[in-house]
């Protein structure tokens, strides 16, 4: 999370000074901030939760769209995720990044839902060798990514993305958009780092092969 979220005074300070902070100072700052966040979640501080919802709305929603492939479902899971954050806030210890914990909650909700509905095998989300993408279609029968693309180029990228299996979309998003470290992704997925790496390599290959003809 942004280092300036809980300490807005820092953001009003000079941005150049913040950029010049030594790495260790920055990590200490992050640690302190995460611990403050953990205390706030334990207290179920309503203002803190409101700010977190506001701050993480784009990233969480995008992650949910990527793993469910469905905007409507993603909306439902978005709300349920924050309810879980409220109820289980005391479980966040502040030792790791908040977004990792948030994505883990969201992912577990999606997996639980799949398990209950038995719409499709859980393997579709957990086994990378499934050739077909995760497609949980609703009545409107439009894929999540269909709805968000407008331009021709975007539409082509969207088409390509919908062909990439959800397991790869997920790790690609976490690594290249969220910029999480391998170990952090492993924690979100509950999988060993070696699995994450192999999915990333394979995902990158699939992404390039799928997008190359469209963007060249």
């Amino acid at each position: 999370m942004s280092a300036t979220f809980l300490f807005p005074a820092i953001s009003n300070h000079n941005a150049h000074q913040a950029a010049a902070l030594p790495a260790c100072s920055f990590s200490v700052l992050m640690k302190v901030e995460n611990q403050a966040l953990a205390r706030g979640l334990q207290r179920r501080d309503p203002d803190l939760l409101d700010r977190l919802i506001e701050q993480y709305q784009f990233r969480l929603f995008r992650y949910l769209v990527y793993i469910t492939g469905d905007r409507t479902r993603a909306e439902d899971f978005f709300q349920e995720t924050w309810i879980r954050v409220l109820e289980r806030g005391h479980q966040y210890d502040g030792k790791s990044r908040f977004e990792g914990w948030l994505f883990t909650i969201a992912r577990n909700l999606v997996i639980d839902w799949q398990r209950q509905r038995k719409i499709q095998s859980l393997d579709a989300l957990t086994a990378p060798d499934q050739a077909h993408p995760l497609q949980v279609k609703d009545e409107r029968a439009t894929s999540a990514l269909d709805a968000v693309m407008n331009t021709e180029q975007d539409a082509q990228v969207q088409d390509a993305m919908s062909q990439i299996p959800a397991v790869y979309r997920e790790v690609l998003l976490l690594r290249f958009q969220e910029e999480l470290q391998i170990e952090e992704i492993a924690a979100v997925l509950g999988a060993p780092p070696s699995t994450v790496k192999s999915r990333l390599y394979r995902g990158l290959e699939v992404l390039r092969n799928t997008l190359e003809p469209r963007i060249s």
Partner: protein
């Protein structure tokens, strides 16, 4: 150049994005990319694919954050209201347990006397004593389970009404 060199270059191009490279690998790759147009194209297409991935817009539905904040606020209110009830339940369970411990010898003798008087086997009145001990825990469990059930129903209702 043999095929292994290109294979290694392409592997390093992916590794650079996924895990990062050592200084020596970076130098080797940079040198190779200057000489090999195919591998340079491969590197470019990898970068272009990642740029395209990063550029995908996923707009958040209007009002989603506000609706979520409202729901979370409502749930927080429910949890706050339940908290004192839970505290009372735990206090009652604690008092009951302490009383149970203090009165155990007396109750044991009472059960023994009753068992003897009624002429039932020892195992029966001993089981009765065990049950008597478990009553507070059972009551607490029933209350908590019914609370959980109610909570699930409310959660379902909230989802339906939105």
């Amino acid at each position: 150049m043999n095929a292994n060199i290109h294979e290694r270059a392409q592997q390093l191009i992916a590794q650079d994005r996924v895990e990062g490279l050592s200084a020596s690998d970076t130098d080797w790759l940079a040198g190779h990319l200057q000489q090999c147009a195919d591998c340079a194209n491969f590197a470019q297409s990898t970068s272009a694919a990642l740029r395209a991935l990063r550029s995908i817009p996923v707009p958040v539905p209007a009002g989603l954050a506000e609706r979520t904040q409202f729901r979370v606020g409502l749930r927080a209110q429910q949890l706050r209201q339940r908290q004192p009830r839970h505290r009372a339940l735990w206090i009652a369970a604690g008092v009951s347990w302490a009383t149970g411990v203090a009165s155990a010898p007396l109750v044991w003798r009472m059960f023994a006397w009753l068992g003897d008087h009624a002429g039932v086997p020892n195992l029966v009145w001993e089981a009765g004593f065990g049950l008597w001990w478990a009553v507070p825990a059972l009551v607490a469990a029933v209350v908590l389970l019914s609370e959980h059930e109610k909570q699930s129903r409310e959660s379902f209702w909230l989802r339906r009404t939105e």
